[in-house]
Amino acid sequence: MDSYSIKTLDELKEFLFRAMQLEHATIPPYLTALYSIKPGVNQDATQVLRVIVVEEMLHLTIAANILNAIGGKLDLVRPDFVASYPAALPDGETDFKVGIQAFGREALAAFLKIERPARRPEHLIGKGLIYRKTPPGITALGSHPRHEDFHFYSIGEFYSTIEEGIKYLEAEAHGAGTTIFTGDRSRQITSEYYYSGGGELFPVTDLKSALEAIELIIEQGEGDGGGIYDDDDHELAHYYRFEELVKGRYYQKGDQPGHPTGPHLQVDWEGAYPIKENLKVADIFEGSELREAAIAFNTRYGEFLQLLTRAYNGQPSLLLEAVPMMFEFRNMILELIRNPLPKHPGKNGSPTYEIPGGIKQPAVTRQAEVNA
């Protein structure tokens, strides 16, 4: 066991918090790209992005289930939960950062990098974590809690470490006649409250279900063992869905990676609003309506994360209220994306995802409680 492996339950909890942070980190870029698509074009791209966003939300919820299963406390309003974009993923290299931008070739190139089935190149095999000094102000997703400047080579590697940690700690607990799965079962989000959301959600209660949950996350993202599909050949992995858009062709069963042979599809690379990349509220002209709209969105998004925090902390039925909130997001994001950014000719606004701290309960929840 190397010095980077997980040795304590607290450490495992912190890893799982970072897993949630990582899963969430892809949602703002994908969501923004999705809503940047102009109406009436890019039907295929819209579907691909929508499906993937939904599956990322599933992964977030699965990670929450695992963390709850070991008695962890979930906090999506912790100030470092939402990445500051552009952010660095645990890809072990410095060739790209995840940013907020419009749908287009560049965005898609970045998405492919996010989801790439990462295997270490020969010269890095057996070398431990990758050192990468992150510049100040950049969120580094998936770093090691005890070694902030060290990174896993890939998301898969990050999760493998979690997997090993769970096995190790459970074996240790087992030896002492106990278990690490002591979490309150009522905190598990099950398909009753979450279905048709990209896959089956099951309660995590023991080693077996925890490992299955991690497998599901990895396979949906990267595919199973180098194949283009997940384990039961039902779903194409995210990487290959994005690749379909680049190649203008659908994959079908039996295809080899990189060579889709299904029907052709159309992508209109100009069919998105020209939003300004990685916009910050501070860049928006003070006193403009757009600035107000950007702040309003951030506030509401913060309330959404507060709602999720409460849902994951024993009130799963609150997830139902998240649905209308996500409709609000669509409207609020469209408002930002379809309007020109003052003093930036040719550029439109964008959500900034700078989530203020200290968000309290969202209004909708209070009202729902009164009704109940």
Binding site: G40, R50, Y193, Y195
Partner: protein, 623 residues
Amino acid sequence: MLFPLESAIRADAKTVAESDDYDIVIVGSGVSGAIIAKQAAEAGKRVLVLEAGTGANTTLAGYDNLLTTFYSAASKDNQSPFPLNANAAIPRSPQLRKLQAGETDSSNYIVQSGPYVSDTTYTRIFGGTTMHWEAKTPRLLRSDFKTRTLFGQGLDWPLSFEEVEEDYRLAEREIGVSANVEDQQYLGQTFPDDYVFPMRGLPLSYLDQQVNKGIEGTSVELYDKTYPLKVRPYPQGRNGIPNPAYDGGKGYRPIGAVDTHQVEEGGRCQGNTNCVPLCPVQARYHSGKTLAKAFAVSGERGEGLVELLPQAVASKVNIDPDNGKVRSLEVKIYKDPASPAHETITVKGKVFVLAAGAIETARLMLASGLRSTSGLVGRNLMDHAYLLNWALMPEICGTMRGTSSTGGIVDLRDGPFRERQAAFAIDIHNDGWGWATGAPTSDLLELVDDRNLYGADLRRGMIDRVSRQLLLAFMIEVMPVESNRITVDPQYTDALGNMRPILSFTVPEYTMKGAAYGRQFARTIFTRLGAQDHTRYDPSDFGYVAYEGQGYAIRGGNHLAGTHIMGTTRTNSVVDKNQRSWDHENLYLVGGGSMPTIGTANVTLTLAAMCFRSGRNILKSLH
């Protein structure tokens, strides 16, 4: 995956014409055909489904195209998502006009010969009318199966409720009904102790709750009997919260859709309010979900067992004169919806199932010259008569939130009064006055044109106006009457040269008596709610019916039934209790057309249940 599944199962006309090993040939891909196809495939049978529509909506992209058509349509009637297709034309309500006595209007697909003009519709597209149904799924009441015995009205079924009950449960599973047993236990409806619906009941809308607040604890009297009032939730064929207690604790998993991708198998109901005509997230059940499962069944060699042949309009049923059995179907295959050019093929099979809806199935039988021993094909046409009543609530009630209809007043669905007048169920419409007046477009025009409102005043005016709208839709029982019927005439044909249906209908007095009482009932309710009655029936309305000195605009309910009625003998009916034709032993006429009565329940759940019975019977006949 986002790869269209249909490429694997779509048949081509040439292969179909040359095949002689189909066990079952089904006309129509609506809920009836879908259930039988799935059941048969699971038993290893080869099935061909003929669909008059293009089948473009078997894919997610095709489904989304229907939504786009709907969103961009100026008129939001319940056929507006569906592209024009003269080769498989469908009735559309905005084109109707009032008839003068003795007049016939043949300008639309259904020839209206009056005296009453019905705006009833059905959809000739992959998925049939489940592509635009509202998805309310009440069961018929026990008494509805024997109205002749109990009330001296209509006909008794050759089946009792008890004989249908198990199939109701199968239908509720197939459709994935959301309901709570405790809400459905009224008027003698009972359920086994451990029964739960597949999904939990959807909540009542705020509007429902406000109406309930105004009427709960009050009652009405009818022929000396008191009926307490309250708003009860409807069971619904749309995705809610799966009940973990379903199936002895195994839970229910909502599955199936036009596309195989998990995300597109039907989302949870989001309350989009445009359930009719088309749910944007496929939360509402449609038969594509059942067919997707049927298409996925493979035979011994891994081949798909169910094939779909779209753009295939069944035109004639050929009978072997020696034994009365169906020998084949004549089917017209068109290449393009925009052109009547077509080829005609002959389709062979062991068993034939006409599942094209009550009007098309009867039309095809009549056009084939098959009138049956009883002479009842096309007769006894039924459809619920709808009477709309609309008012403005005293306070904002959040109209336009929730599905089209979540609750209603249903305690007058049964009672001894049915000896004298029709029963009714009242739907509370969450989508405002739309059905009655064309709201909210009509409200906008009025506020702008008549009251010169603009800006903030206009916005406030619209909110105040629309979110107080209450529409009570009275769904009134119609009993079978032989003179209410579908016929054909060679002088009225469609683009492919097939004879079109001619509809003759008179709203029966029994029903009008219920309507007249319903109007009074609505006034009483409005008074109790402090709501301002805005109901007006225009004598120039196409559905205007005068009764005892008053006029009523009666709307069709699209709950078509009766045209190949089910009974105990070949002389009193067209089909037996398995929906098998008395005259042609390998022919099944299935769907609402078999129902002897429709009570006050939307017909889909019941006809779905009947198809489970027929499916079993067909499989038995094939052994």
